[in-house]
């Protein structure tokens, strides 16, 4: 699925509760957090540690840097470039179209049918990935898909005249935008809702035009959340696996598929730790993206309506 790893709070950094009692949280407060900490520890921290350790081991468990150096060579490095390219492209497409769609519903009636439909639909579609999504495309524009057949028989258009694009980078790009746009709607809507009508009125009463409003008010306020959402979308696409796995079987163009190959391949054995090194590489890329995102969110927080 296309889930985004939650951003863990830095250990030791107790989150400040505004207006809360100063000082350390009580023992009872810690006790309440135990289930969450156990969950996060089991499903986030422990696997991350496994990947981190495994990346520096060879098949016999001895220390080695070979897996890490392999990351910068040949096919593996190409996969990283391609993954980053695919994620950046779909993030950009998703962010631009998603922002336009968000704007369309944000200026509309806050309780209107359109808005409710789009928000509910986005909530579902942002999680629409993996096999169902891949199948939806295969059934419509695959080699024997409904649309493909219709165009071939009635319009003489061969969708696959050039190449098997659906199973390569262009296909992945198209398919990924289907969950990227709805995700953008979800994360960007609060920021747009944070634009107060009073600001626009103030701008108008001071003799400003639409242009000056966007240039000096709307733009500057929306830029950080837009960039933050862009990074979130990037991480979302970068870590997506199931959709690509269901769609692409030949060649392993992107990193998650390469990891699959290293972990389950039965031809070339003993590459599990190289797979872990790739996983570590992904962790690093996503950490950078999410880290910048957190910094941006801090800037935005004061503008977004609570």
């Amino acid at each position: 699925m296309t889930s985004v790893a939650p951003v863990a709070t830095t250990p030791g950094g107790s989150t400040k509760i505004r207006g809360g009692a100063a000082g350390r949280p009580s023992a009872a407060a810690w006790l309440v957090a135990v289930p969450f900490l156990a969950f996060a520890g089991t499903f986030l921290v422990y696997p991350t540690v496994l990947v981190l350790v495994g990346a520096f081991q060879d098949s016999d468990g001895a220390f080695t840097l070979e897996n890490i150096t392999t990351l910068f060579t040949g096919v593996v490095f190409d996969a990283f470039l391609l993954s980053i390219e695919l994620s950046a492209l779909t993030a950009l497409i998703g962010a631009v179209f998603g922002a336009l769609l968000t704007w369309a519903i944000a200026v509309g009636n806050p309780d209107g049918m359109l808005r409710r439909t789009v928000v509910a639909g986005s909530g579902v579609l942002a999680q629409f990935g993996g096999v169902p999504l891949a199948f939806a495309f295969l059934a419509t524009v695959g080699f024997e898909g409904l649309v493909t057949k219709f165009l071939r028989d009635n319009a003489g258009i061969d969708l696959f005249a050039g190449s098997a694009w659906l199973f390569e980078l262009p296909g992945l790009t198209l398919v990924y935008t289907f969950f990227q746009i709805p995700l953008m709607v979800i994360v960007f809507l609060p920021a747009l809702d944070g634009l107060r009508p009073q600001w626009r009125e103030a701008n108008a009463s001071l003799g400003g035009t639409s242009w000056t409003y966007w240039r000096h008010v709307g733009g500057p306020i929306l830029t950080p959340p837009f960039l933050g959402a862009l990074l979130l979308l990037f991480a979302n696409a970068f870590s997506a696996y199931a959709t690509a796995a269901a769609l692409v079987s030949q060649g392993s163009p992107i990193v998650p598929l390469q990891i699959r190959g290293f972990l389950t391949g039965e031809v070339v054995l003993g590459q599990e730790n190289l797979g872990k090194a790739l996983g570590l590489g992904m962790v690093v890329v996503v950490t950078i993206a999410m880290g910048v995102n957190v910094l941006l969110q801090k800037r935005v927080a004061k503008w977004v309506r609570r």
Binding site: G74, V75, D78, L138, G142, F143, E144, F160, S163, A164, F167, E168, V248, S249, Q250, G251, S252, P253, G261, L263, T264, G265, E266, V267, V268, L269, G270
Partner: protein
């Protein structure tokens, strides 16, 4: 997604060693506790087949893994085993690869969900011998020496040849590997899996090499062939499955002859699915059975092996158009009708040695992604 694969087998001696059949004098039956099944190396150690059946029935369960129902007739094999012994069979992850079988055994070790038995490509079997419990089935002597581990850790169960399956209504019959480069096959040729990961696909590349001027030692022409296939627009990067064949998505599929032939039977009346083993490129391979050292149902695991290597089990493989390992030795006991249905193979048959396979893997790892990416 069938991504299992056998990478190598040694040359099968056509006149396989006739092993002197030791007179089947079972050692004096000792009363053995049920726990002894876990270490028994043969049925006679447990006091004979009846005792083994008894112990297996007491366990009442068997976990198998990576056995697709339409692969070598495993669907019917499982049904027959259930019916014969009344033992419940839990079939997990039917489309897993050999490596995933091993991963599952390691991850589930100590639970009653761990796989009891494996069906593995030789490559993976060789690499994991320490996970297997050696056991020799009653028909051990019928298995050709070059297809079994001397200690009984793993041994060949069935094999076949790489083949081209095709929908006769959609494409002309290919007579050679090179035929697939013709414009009639545009966007139609699929390979079962990624050859750097899946054994069947790996052998598919070897087949392409044999048909394109290469050899068991030199598979580069095979990679080159797929590069040309892609350049011509004929290669389809879709992972073929019974569903893609039935829906017409993959009208030409390179896969083991027994999986292709299984589709012929299954789709009779819907689709005219034909199978050809290209005469100039016959690459064969065998799969292997092994019992998990940590099998939660050790007696049932051993009974399963006895069943697979009995005439009944071997004929079930044969009816799935796989070539059972005891085929030559079974003589008249082999199902003649099924045997006559096997895709024809005349001419030079190639079986890669482990060294050749290792060389081929290195070539694939270095060049496949670029050729097809």
């Amino acid at each position: 997604m069938l991504k299992r694969g056998n990478v190598t087998t040694k040359m099968m001696g056509v006149g396989a060693l006739v092993l002197a059949m030791a007179a089947c004098g079972a050692p004096p039956a000792k009363e053995t506790p049920a726990g002894a099944a876990g270490t028994a190396k043969s049925a006679s150690e447990l006091g004979g087949m009846d005792k083994l059946v008894e112990a297996a029935k007491k366990e009442g369960k068997l976990n198998v893994i990576a056995l697709p129902p339409d692969w070598a007739n495993y669907g019917k094999v499982i049904e027959a085993f259930k019916a014969k012994y009344g033992i419940e069979v839990k079939s997990d992850q039917p489309d897993a690869s050999s490596q995933e079988e091993i991963n599952a055994a390691k991850q589930l070790k100590g639970t009653d969900r761990a796989p009891d038995v494996f069906d593995l490509g030789l490559n993976v079997a060789l690499a994991n011998k320490d996970l297997f419990a050696p056991y020799k089935v009653s028909t051990w002597d019928d298995i050709p020496a070059e297809l079994k581990d001397a200690d009984g850790a793993y041994y060949g169960d069935y094999g076949g040849f790489m083949s081209i399956g095709y929908d006769a209504a959609k494409v002309p019959a290919p007579t050679s590997v090179k035929d697939l480069l013709k414009p009639e096959y545009k966007g139609k040729v699929a390979l079962n899996g990624n050859p750097t990961q899946a054994g069947a696909a790996f052998s598919g590349v070897v087949m392409a090499a044999l048909g394109n001027g290469g050899s068991a030692d030199d598979i580069a022409p095979g990679v080159e062939f797929f590069k040309q296939l892609k350049a011509a627009g004929n290669f389809q990067p879709v992972d073929p499955s019974p569903a893609t064949i039935e829906s017409g998505q993959t009208p030409v599929v390179i896969d083991w002859d027994y999986t292709n032939a299984a589709q012929t039977d299954k789709l009779k009346g819907k689709l005219d699915w034909k199978v050809v083993v290209p005469a100039e490129a016959q690459i064969g391979g065998y799969y292997n059975q092994a019992i998990s050292k940590d099998a939660p149902h050790p007696a049932a695991a051993r009974l399963w092996q006895e069943f697979l290597y009995s005439d009944e089990g071997q004929n079930l493989y044969l009816q799935g158009l796989a070539r059972p390992v005891r085929l030559d030795k079974m003589g008249d006991k082999a199902d003649k009708a099924a045997k006559d249905k096997l895709p024809k193979t005349d001419g030079k048959q190639v079986f890669q040695t482990q060294a050749q396979a290792d060389k081929a893997k290195a070539v694939l790892t270095a060049t496949w992604a670029q050729a097809i990416g």
